[in-house]
């Protein structure tokens, strides 16, 4: 499997660290780009519209713009039609899971992401 291109939208430094470590532990090699808020994610995706990432991991609680707002933008962007969007958040609230599902998120993970969950999620792409 060629290295996948991944965008992580995450504002917490520690969580970025754990996310990258999960890749190491799962022995999955990927190019990981990090956007620390929604605006930066949208900016990155706009600049790389020609070469969108394979998978986006999106936190729900972000500064300025929350994850749902970013999710709405992602889902109406035709350039990202083939990009999987996974929610990766602190909260296991069923209501938030339900809302993410209804808005078109491909899956929902509660942090921390486990190596086996990561392998399984990437295999779906």
């Amino acid at each position: 499997m060629p290295a996948q291109r991944i965008l992580l939208v995450e504002d917490l430094e520690d969580d970025v660290f754990f996310f990258k470590r999960t890749f190491k532990r799962a022995e999955v090699y990927a190019e990981i780009e990090v956007a620390t808020d929604g605006a930066k994610a949208i900016d990155f995706l706009t600049r790389h519209a020609e070469t969108p990432p394979d998978v986006i991991f999106l936190d729900l609680k972000l500064p300025n713009q929350n994850g749902f707002e970013v999710l709405a933008w992602l889902k109406q962007n035709p350039a990202l039609a083939n990009t999987k969007v996974y929610i990766l958040t602190s909260s296991g609230e069923p209501r938030e899971q339900q809302q993410a599902k209804e808005m078109g998120a491909d899956d929902y993970f509660v942090k921390p992401l486990l190596p086996e969950q990561l392998r399984e999620a990437l295999a779906r792409h």
Binding site: D15, K61, S90, S91, P112
Partner: protein, 388 residues
């Protein structure tokens, strides 16, 4: 409502006639007031209402007609029935005048006792009925007012409840997102240290690190369970028909439920359907199964069985284990929040799982309980309305 005595006013300048008429009317058992002239009659009227006025036409000074005219001028007495009593041949013209002044009837002297009684009793009854209706109207008005006041109180309480719920929502959001982030860091970095740097620590150092990790895991579980407990109050309670076997499959896959080695879960065939909130019931079953597999003596292979029993429109879901059992003295206690019984060191827990089961069962219109003895396994049950 008890009937009040009606007032009857007798107006006559001749005391003898007054006494005679009073004697006849006494049998009606009402309150009789006497006046010997028009002025006195008006004074009496100022003090109280009358069911009927018996008015002598022929009186010195102000006669009956003049008195009637003055009575009628007051709106309060516009409708008070007046019976004129007249002693001599009254002309048709006079009688017409009387009717114009509002007389409802005429009686000629000498009065016939039975006729007087009959006529007066009609008006007494009318007055009593009017009084009853008036009282009912007042009662209704009061009741309506009371109702409106109660409605206001309910609306205010609803508003307060909505606010409290909003605060709970904010609190839960903050706990589930903000409070868990530093916890995750604690847990995550203690894991990193244990995995990558354990060799640089001596035995004590590793032990302390293990303790940090265990404490952060415990706190993570506590916040998760508390959030679930809070969520029960906010769940939409519209009941749905739930198939328990399908729900169990979801529970097992969603929670990454891992059976202990050799452990057995037997779900009997033909489970009844219940009316419930699937999220909450799933939570309950998950907690009961977790306990069933957790509270087992070390040398025992856990064996858990689930089935339903149906009685009188209710379904009892039973979870039987072969675990350590619970002393009957603690059966009520185990459903309280933060309550843990038995050897708490040996089995990890937050003491919230069964409180969630009890509260969720109650919110779904059911209840729960346990049959168990120490060393004889436990049979936990949830009883819910059966699905039609």
């Amino acid at each position: 409502m008890t009937e009040q005595k009606a007032n009857i006013l007798l107006v006559d300048d001749q005391p003898g006639k007054l006494i005679a008429h009073e004697a006849i009317l006494q049998e009606l058992g009402q309150n009789i007031v006497k006046a010997t002239n028009g002025r006195e009659a008006l004074e009496c009227l100022l003090k109280q209402d009358f069911a009927v006025i018996l008015l002598d036409v022929n009186m010195p000074g102000m006669d009956g007609f003049e008195t009637a005219e003055l009575i009628r001028q007051r709106p309060r007495f516009e409708k008070t029935p007046i019976i004129f009593i007249t002693g001599y041949n009254t002309s048709d013209i006079d009688r017409l005048k009387g009717y114009r002044l509002g007389a409802v009837d005429y009686m000629f002297l000498p009065v016939i006792a039975e006729v007087l009684k009959a006529k007066v009793s009609v008006f007494v009854e009318l007055a009593q009925q009017t009084a009853v209706i008036k009282k009912q109207a007042e009662y209704l008005a009061f009741h309506n007012q009371e109702q409106a006041r109660k409605l206001e109180v309910i609306q205010q309480l609803n508003e307060e409840l909505r606010e409290a719920n909003e605060q709970l929502e904010t609190f839960s959001y903050s706990v589930s997102h903000d409070l868990r982030a530093p916890l995750r860091s604690l847990q995550g970095f203690s894991e990193v240290l244990l995995e990558d740097y354990a060799q640089n620590l001596d035995e004590d150092g590793r032990l302390y690190l293990d303790r940090i990790k265990a404490a952060s895991i415990q706190m993570e579980q506590l916040t998760r369970d508390l959030l679930q407990y809070c969520r029960i109050a906010r769940e939409d309670m519209t009941p749905q028909a739930v198939a328990i076997d399908a729900l169990l499959k979801d529970v097992m896959s969603m929670n990454n439920f891992i059976l202990p080695p050799g452990g057995q879960l037997i779900v009997r065939e033909g489970l009844s359907r219940v009316l419930a909130n699937p999220t909450l019931l799933g939570q309950c079953l998950s907690n009961l199964l977790n306990n069933a597999f957790k509270f087992v003596a070390p040398e025992v292979v856990p064996h858990v069985e689930i089935w339903t029993e149906r009685t009188n429109g209710r379904v009892r879901i039973l979870v039987q284990d072969n675990g350590i059992g619970i002393d009957p003295a603690h059966h009520q206690k185990v459903f309280g929040i933060f309550e843990r019984v038995g050897n708490v060191k040996q089995h990890e827990g937050t003491g919230i799982g069964l409180a969630i089961v009890a509260r969720a069962a109650q919110r779904m219109g059911g209840h729960c309980g346990v049959d168990s003895r120490l060393g004889a396994g436990s049979r936990f049950w949830i009883e819910l309305p059966a699905a039609p």
